[in-house]
């Protein structure tokens, strides 16, 4: 029987092929419609397959389909095999589901682009979906890597979609290059795994590693996992490779929502989840993952607090939330991490699309200092945005609450107290900056009129919103058009309800997601090893744990609400406090505003020196100077030797005779004196 699995990525790919080749000649409705249609169909197939999967016994939940042998060399046998297990099922639904919504949203958002560009946009978007699906479906590291790099490519293309704008092109390149650094580590990690296990199948590696005890100390295995994790830090924007993500906001907003919030950036988290068995055998790496995750969460949260670009705030928020996920992965709470990934996809996509609606309405304005009071004019946007914000702030019973809470609980439960404290602080910060955003954008007074059409033309040229000047007079703004509204509303609903699949036992839930995912994090038949790897709460009683969990839930809810309250206090009640604090804490404020100067640091320590050394040292110095100098030097020496030796040929016959005579005397001398 022909499997349906390959169709999931192939459909979007087909959309890409059609749109990229014929796109110019298709009307927008056809190209956009086609792109959305393939995504929806893909979603439906995914849903069908996931339903099939759920019909199986929990231990047998595995659908695979080997398509062909990709690379065979020596003992290396790489098949293109697609695999659906509970983990990839979740990812599939998120990608195709949210992906469909964002495609639909985009048909409206990008409507102002000319036909060719419009089709190009959708072809990239479809290609992205295809690669993302390959990433989650791939059963081996290299196939995963195909998707991994493929989404990076699409990210590059989409960030730089408005290629005429230098900043966009720069951002795209930066994203690609920074990701490449991670990929470099990822490749090395793969090699290390192959060297150790002789296979690059994820399950093959897991089976072999499951038979081993967890690695004590930092050995080869830890190194391999650490390398994989570095790859993940690139893709998922963690310290130290997070720098590309904020810049990536140069891309169209739906792209930010899809790629840089909901799906691609979570690939790192997914990858660790996919290799849960492997990672749980390397406690040292796990600690590093957790620490990096927590640190990223905190750092991004602090930066998010002061940023003024609506998308940048969301970007740092994404980085921060990704930090949460890694924290979860690092402490061994894989289920919690994936849970957060899943809920985050909803509310962050919702927030990004909401911000897109705002920007759309304001014809490209992104600075929140120029917004305010949009609540009344953009009600749909406002309400969905608000729901998303509450969700991310972790207020029960919205989606974010459950997932974030589980992470914090697991962190504490695995006795990472410091990380837990950081998590709590970040949670507080999250609530604060999100509501700062909400309040500054939607509440208060309008601080800026929508720009006049002529102005819009110049200002937003790069964004392609220039043709949108029809309703821009007199400050009357258009709320999201139907396609956008649909996406917003569906996502808002998701932000509310998505968490309900994982209500913990502690408060009477079933934590269905956790149970669903569990088989993906263990190896069938080697469950004991997997179990042993989790230094959990084996010794404590179930009741005590649940008690702790309940306490923490209350605590974190309170923290979230507190954060909202603080935001309300500062940005609604006493606007002057913010300014005063910014003044009194000027150094810190500047530091945060400039994102800890990390970009500048990288520039000064890596980019500039490498450029300078390459140009002056290697190229002009070593290459042209020394090496080519030596080569040409040989020629010069021969030439000089020639000029010298030819001078011996004086033209004087007596000198010639002398040469002859000297030859004779020397030769006889040699014979007689030797």
């Amino acid at each position: 029987m022909i499997s349906l699995i390959p169709l999931i990525p192939l459909l979007p790919f087909a959309g890409f092929v059609v749109n990229s080749t014929l796109g110019k000649r298709l009307p927008k409705s056809v190209s956009g419609g086609l792109a959305s249609l393939v995504m929806v169909v893909s979603f439906l197939i995914s849903a069908y397959l996931v339903w099939q999967l759920s019909q199986l016994a929990p231990d047998e939940r595995l659908l695979t389909n080997t398509i062909y042998r990709w690379i065979a060399s020596g003992e290396l046998r790489l098949d293109v095999t697609f695999l659906i297990d509970p983990l990839s099922a979740v990812m599939l639904l998120v990608i195709t589901g949210i992906g469909s919504l964002i495609h639909i949203y985009s048909t409206a958002y990008m409507h102002d682009e000319v036909d060719g560009e419009f089709a190009r946009y959708f072809s990239y978007l479809n290609l992205f979906a295809a690669f993302m699906l390959v990433l989650v479906l791939g059963s081996s590291f290299p196939v995963l890597f195909v998707g991994w790099e493929g989404v990076g490519l699409c990210s590059y293309l989409l960030i730089g979609f408005w290629f005429k704008k230098k900043s966009a092109a720069d951002a795209g390149k930066k994203a690609f290059v920074v990701n490449r650094i991670g990929d470099y580590a990822f490749l090395l990690g793969m090699f290390a795994l192959f060297a150790m296990f002789g296979t690059l199948e994820v399950r093959g590696v897991a089976e072999k590693v499951a038979a081993m005890p967890p690695e004590a100390g930092f050995g080869l295995l830890s190194l391999a996992t650490l390398l994989l994790f570095i790859g993940a830090t690139g893709k998922s924007a963690q310290i130290p490779l997070y720098v590309w993500l904020p810049d990536a906001m140069e891309g169209p907003t739906p792209v930010s929502a899809l790629i840089h919030a909901a799906t691609m950036v979570t690939a790192g988290v997914y990858m660790i989840g996919r290799n849960a068995v492997l990672f749980s055998h390397t406690p040292d790496t796990m600690t590093i993952v957790a620490v990096i995750g927590a640190a990223t969460a905190l750092m991004a949260g602090t930066i998010g607090l002061v940023q003024n670009d609506i998308k940048r705030v969301l970007a740092y928020s994404t980085v921060s939330q990704l930090g949460y996920m890694f924290l979860a992965m690092g402490v061994g709470a894989f289920g919690a991490g994936i849970f957060h990934l899943y809920t985050h996809a909803f509310f962050k996509a919702c927030l990004f699309l909401g911000s897109g609606a705002v920007i759309h309405a304001l014809h490209g304005e992104q600075d929140i200092r120029n917004m305010g009071g949009l609540r009344k004019e953009l009600p749909i946007t406002y309400w969905t945005f608000l729901i998303g914000s509450i969700a991310i702030a972790g207020v029960p019973p919205l989606a974010g609450f459950f997932s974030k809470d589980e992470i914090l609980f697991e962190t504490l439960a695995h006795s990472h107290t410091v990380l837990w404290v950081i998590g709590i602080i970040t949670s507080f910060l999250t609530a604060t900056y999100m509501f700062r955003l909400v309040f500054l954008t939607f509440h208060g007074e309008r601080r800026h009129d929508a720009p006049a059409p002529a102005d819009a033309h110049g200002h937003a040229a790069g964004h392609g919103h220039d043709a949108h000047g029809h309703g821009a007079h007199g400050g009357h703004l258009h709320d999201a058009p139907p396609a956008m509204a649909l996406a917003l509303i569906v996502l808002a609903i998701g932000s509310v309800a998505a968490g309900w699949v994982g209500i913990p036992h502690a408060i009477g839930g079933s934590n269905g997601l956790h149970a669903w995912l569990e088989p993906s994090f263990t190896v069938a038949g080697a469950a004991t090893a997997g179990e042993a790897a989790e230094p959990g709460l084996a010794g404590e009683s179930e009741a005590a744990t649940e008690g702790l969990e309940r306490t923490l839930m209350v605590f974190s809810s309170v923290v979230g609400l507190l954060g909202i309250a603080v935001a309300f206090g500062i940005w609604i009640k006493r606007r002057d406090i913010a300014a005063a604090w910014a003044r009194s804490l000027a150094p810190i404020h500047t530091l945060l505003l400039n994102k800890y100067y990390v970009d500048e640091l990288y520039d000064a320590t890596v980019v500039t020196p490498v450029q300078a050394v390459s140009r002056e040292g290697l190229w002009r110095g070593v290459d042209v100077g020394i090496i080519d100098g030596a080569v040409n030097g040989v020629a010069t020496i021969v030439d000089a030797g020639s000029m010298v030796l030819r001078r011996l040929q004086t033209g004087s016959v007596r000198a010639y005779a002398g040469s002859l005579f000297i030859g004779v005397v020397l030769m006889l001398g040699y014979y007689l004196w030797r």
């Binding site: 004086t650 004087s652 007596r654 000198a655 002398g658 005579f661 000297i662 004779v664 005397v665 006889l668 001398g669 007689l672």
Partner: protein
């Protein structure tokens, strides 16, 4: 011993005359001195039981060839060496250069002498092995020349022909074809 005295006198004459040949600025004197040298050599040939060679030496060398030289010297009418106007141009052409020639010549003599000194058999008298009368016979010489050396003899005719043609070709004035 008169024989050795003769040898030394003749040798001294030959060497001295030759040295003077190359010590002369005037080519005319050089040619004449060379004739002296050749005559002394002819004398040495006689001491070596080679009277026919000695005669040929006088007739061919001193007579024919040297006369040819004299003709040319007189034809060109350039008795004196040119002033050393080129001498200033290149260090290798300075008089020091001539000194190098002398040094090399001395070295060559030294080398040859040393080599000869190392060969014991050469110390034996020159007439040690053969019969002097046998080799001084012109008949014997003629026999060998026209049997063993017949080819070389014929080849020499080609050589002379070449020299003749060559001299004609070279000496002919421009224009006469």
């Amino acid at each position: 011993m008169p024989e050795s005295l003769l040898f030394y006198v003749l040798s001294g004459l030959a060497v001295g005359a030759s040295a003077l040949v190359i010590g002369q600025r005037n080519p005319m004197y050089s040619v004449l001195l060379l004739i002296v040298s050749f005559a002394a050599l002819a004398g040495l040939y006689i001491t070596l039981d080679a009277p026919f060679v000695a005669v040929a030496q006088m007739i061919i060398y001193a007579g024919a060839i040297m006369v040819l030289f004299l003709f040319v010297v007189m034809l060109l009418n350039a008795p004196q060496e040119d002033a050393a106007e080129w001498d200033r141009t290149h260090p290798l052409r300075r008089p020091g250069f001539a000194r190098i020639g002398i040094v090399l010549a001395v070295l060559l003599v030294a080398e040859l002498g040393w080599a000869l000194a190392k060969v014991v058999s050469l110390g034996s008298p020159v007439g040690g092995r053969g019969d002097g009368a046998a080799i001084s016979s012109v008949r014997e010489m003629g026999r060998v020349l026209f049997t063993q050396y017949s080819f070389a003899f014929e080849a020499t005719s080609v050589l002379i022909l070449v020299a003749m043609v060559g001299a004609v070709v070279l000496a002919r004035r421009e224009g006469d074809v």
